[in-house]
């Protein structure tokens, strides 16, 4: 087990380096002069140019620049925004609400998705299963911003059950509707995955053997069907956290949530490339850590993995 954990930890190093390399290359490929960019596209004198180049290591070889970039990312030193605020402070301000939103969406996705998927899987080809399949297909095929705007209009504006937008002083109640919107697309897929997995496990040989032992139906389902079915679902949900963060950009903009997605969106609009890159790099870090966590949960659920 510990060897497995150690190996997974070691594997995150090349993954992280690779990700920063791609980001770094994208950064270098972007058109325009970085110094002009920095100075707001006004002509600069040679002295200022040299000073800026030295400050940002622009004269070093590319390899060294990349290492510097990776080092800054690990030490969370992301530089400053145009307004002079350290980017890390911006992240610190905006990240918590995004995390709360993503975790709420994840919880809705996991609880509803697994419950409904299990019921559908246990009663395969019944009316519940068929309608769950149709509804999930519908949800899968509608883009998230359409769902977002429609729900905002119906529940926020027409019915007035919730506030249509969140604004700077957010709380969990206000985040509920955005979290549901964010969860919807993933949740449809979780239902389908759980359903297939449960239905497949239900006919497994060892489940029949468990019944032959004299276990009650409830016990068989809880101990021998559910746990086995959850292995692929957990992987999917965990990896999903990444897409939840990506989806956050759209949802946060629709509902005006002061999260990291919104910050990224604003930075893109303003053309603050360095801020955008910093936020994306931070997200990569989070994503790498999340997949590490998923792998560890996976090992807890399935003893066979620990020996690979």
């Amino acid at each position: 087990m510990w060897w497995y954990v150690g190996k997974r930890l070691l594997q995150t190093i090349p993954v992280f380096l690779g990700a920063t390399l791609i980001l770094f290359i994208l950064l270098k490929l972007r058109p325009g002069d970085p110094i002009l960019n920095l100075a707001g596209n006004k002509p600069v004198s040679q002295e200022v140019r040299d000073a800026l180049a030295a400050q940002y290591h622009l004269d070093d070889p590319l390899f060294v620049q990349w290492l510097q970039f990776a080092k800054n990312a690990i030490t969370l030193n992301f530089g400053e925004t145009f307004a002079g605020q350290p980017v890390f402070d911006l992240i610190k301000q905006t990240f918590p609400v995004t995390v709360v939103l993503a975790v709420m969406a994840l919880a809705i996705d996991a609880i509803l998705g697994i419950t409904l998927g299990t019921i559908a899987g246990l009663r395969r080809n019944g009316w519940f299963d068929s309608s769950a399949l149709v509804v999930s297909l519908l949800l899968l095929s509608v883009p998230i911003f359409v769902v977002g705007f429609v729900m905002q209009l119906v529940f926020g504006v027409k019915l007035g059950w919730v506030e249509p937008t969140v604004g700077p002083d957010w709380n969990i109640g206000k985040l509920l509707l955005p979290a549901i919107v964010l969860a919807i697309a993933n949740f449809a897929y979780t239902i389908r995955l759980t359903r297939t997995s449960v239905a497949e496990n239900l006919t497994a040989d060892h489940v029949r053997t468990a019944r032959a032992k004299g276990l009650s139906n409830g016990l068989v389902v809880r101990r021998h069907v559910l746990r086995n079915s959850l292995v692929p679902v957990v992987t999917y949900i965990g990896i999903n956290l990444g897409s939840l963060m990506a989806g956050a950009i759209i949802t946060e903009t629709i509902f005006n949530i002061p999260g990291i997605g919104n910050a990224a969106y604003t930075a893109i609009q303003k053309g603050e490339t360095s801020t955008v890159v910093a936020i994306v790099t931070f997200m990569v870090l989070v994503y790498v850590l999340m997949s590490l966590l998923v792998d560890l949960i996976y090992a807890v659920l399935d003893p066979r993995i620990r020996y690979v």
Binding site: W3, A204, H206, V207, A212, K213, R227, V231, P303
Partner: protein, 573 residues
């Protein structure tokens, strides 16, 4: 086995009919079956796959799959009809009164729970024991099932167990709550013959001491007759014959039983007639092979010199590196250790051994699919290692072809039978399109399949038919050597007999040389001339078939011979 004299039967199946719904069709799997088991008695149900024997067993324990149901007749357990009982009444019987030892030990344990926990569940669910007492009982049960070091084993997961060990754990599980009836559904057909014997011996002894009645389900008549006092023969959902084991074996009435008795390899291997038949095949094959050899020696396009020994293996060794105790360490494992043998043109050499003995690794090295660590494989005077050019390698493949164990896995499910057989012809650019089609027809004819199967897909064929297709594919390029790696092990006994006969006929007709890999000595006598017995990568005995059967030198060979089921039963004419 001593049947307890008790007037009321423990289990009585009367005129049972079980149907399956497949779409709108209703298929009858069991059709009016009758069966009686008394307390402490062992009754074997014998039949081929699809005969309804497993369905009958699942009906008795109320575990028919969702689309199956009892559509007629009754199942009386201790006088109560369980075919029409409520669900919770049947559930109360499971485990506590009727135990099950399932067929495939690999898929019948939940991979995510410790083995001990899974046995404990059976104790808790049936109210036998709880908590620490149950843990203690689990260890006792595992010991009783013949698992050494039971305390540590109980804390391990199924993937840390071998097949035989898993089956012991499943036996412990089936007997945990001391049922009165144990259903053993092909409990050993997924295991090696020697392990099979150990497990069955142990099961016999256990059920005898505990006085448990056993319903043994098997496709092997020899095994059934050896283990049960009463036989029930099933064929296409019907019970065609039932009675005392010896009576059925010595005087079978139904044509199907007659066929079973006459051709099940475990029984047939005892007969002298099978040796005579083999001698005739060999004589013819050697003659044909000599003519081919003469041709080869003059031919430019074929590899080899037409030697008498077509495959010569010398000091063949294969060492695999395994992960050691520490992650960065590795351990050398000699899968094949200094193996030498010769395969004469037109004859069959069998390599026999348990799983893990290295026999399949030898086959893969002879086929040039795996590079040996040291030693040489000579094909008709050419060292395989010297075949560097693409043409030489293609020629080798033409002249040596494999047939593998699992006919379900060795055919591409998306290729039609025609495509599968014609593929080697296309790869080697043989003939025009018309000629290829004629060749495929000819091959199907040789393996006794109708040409109508050409457009069908593997999924539509039975196991025996698929293995015939695999043989046809191997023969497509007119090879001189065919390597059969457990080619009949996955098949029912009767189908085994048919495939062996087919292989013999083809050998006589085409002068083929076979390298025949198997774990089952029973089939060897009908197909082979020489035998190599392997254990732990080494050859422990090597001589002619009659020598090995009549006069085995090694204790290990003797053990393999003893493991042939039904070997000790006197047969009728």
């Amino acid at each position: 086995m001593n049947a307890v004299n008790d007037t009321t039967p423990l289990l009585q199946v009367k005129n049972l009919t079980v149907g399956f719904r497949a779409g709108k069709e209703l298929l009858t799997a069991v059709d009016g079956a009758d069966l009686t088991i008394y307390r402490g008695q062992t009754v074997a149900i014998v039949g081929e796959s699809g005969s309804g024997k497993s369905t009958l067993a699942h009906a008795v324990i109320g575990l028919l799959p969702g689309n199956g149901h009892v559509s007629g007749g009754e199942i009386l357990f201790d006088g109560n009809d369980i075919a029409h009982a409520r669900k919770d009444a049947i559930m109360a019987l499971r485990g506590s009164s009727i135990g099950l030892v399932p067929q495939d030990p690999m898929s019948n344990l939940n991979p995510l729970w410790r083995v001990g926990t899974q046995i404990k569940e059976a104790l808790v669910a049936n109210g036998v024991a709880k908590g620490a007492a149950a843990d203690q009982r689990v260890v006792e049960l595992l010991e009783e099932a013949g698992l050494p070091d039971a305390e540590r084993r109980a804390r391990q997961y199924p993937h840390e167990f071998s097949g035989g060990m898993r089956q012991r754990a499943l036996i412990a599980m089936g007997l945990a709550a001391r049922p009165q009836l144990l259903i053993a559904d092909e409990p050993t057909s997924a295991l090696d013959v020697t392990v099979q014997k150990q497990i069955l011996d142990h099961l016999d002894q256990l059920t005898d001491t505990l006085g448990v009645a056993v319903m043994l389900i098997t496709h092997d008549l020899g095994l059934a007759a050896e283990r049960a006092d009463h036989l029930v023969v099933m064929y296409r959902g019907r019970v065609v014959e039932s009675g005392p084991a010896l009576d059925i074996l010595q005087d079978p009435q139904h044509p199907y039983t007659k066929r079973l008795v006459s051709s099940a390899p475990s029984l047939a291997s005892q007969r002298l007639s099978s040796q005579r038949a083999r001698a005739e095949v060999r004589e013819q094959a050697v003659q044909t092979a000599a003519e081919i050899a003469a041709e080869v020696s003059h031919s430019e396009s074929q590899l080899g010199e037409g030697r008498d020994d077509i495959v010569v293996v010398e000091n063949l060794t294969k060492i695999f590196k395994l992960r050691g105790a520490k992650p960065w360490q590795s351990v050398d494992f000699a899968a094949v250790d200094d193996v030498s043998f010769r395969l004469r043109r037109g004859t069959t050499t069998a390599i026999v051994g348990e799983s893990g003995s290295g026999k399949s690794t030898v086959a893969r090295m002879v086929l040039d699919l795996l590079p040996p660590t040291s030693g040489t494989v000579m094909f008709d005077g050419k060292n395989l290692r010297d075949l560097k050019s693409k043409t030489d390698r293609l020629r080798l493949r033409r002249q040596m072809q494999p047939v593998f164990q699992n006919p379900y896995a060795s055919l591409d499910p998306l290729y039609s039978i025609y495509q599968s057989i014609a593929e080697p012809l296309n790869t080697h650019d043989v003939g025009t399109k018309k000629e290829r089609e004629a060749k495929v027809r000819d091959l199907l004819d040789k393996v006794s399949l109708p040409t109508t199967v050409m457009s069908r897909y593997p999924g539509e064929l039975s196991g025996g038919q698929r293995q015939r297709v695999a043989i046809a594919r191997a023969l497509a390029l007119d090879p001189e050597v065919v390597i059969c790696d457990e080619a009949v092990s996955a098949l029912d006994v009767l189908v085994q007999a048919q495939i062996l006969e087919l292989l013999n006929d083809l050998q006589a007709e085409l002068g083929l040389s076979y390298l025949f890999i198997t774990h089952d000595l029973a089939v060897v006598r009908q197909i082979a001339d020489n035998v190599l017995v392997m254990q732990n990568g080494k050859v422990v005995e090597s001589s002619s078939v009659s020598e090995v059967f009549d006069n085995p030198r090694e204790a290990y060979t003797q053990r393999l011979l003893d493991a042939i089921p039904g070997g000790s039963i006197p047969l009728g004419a």
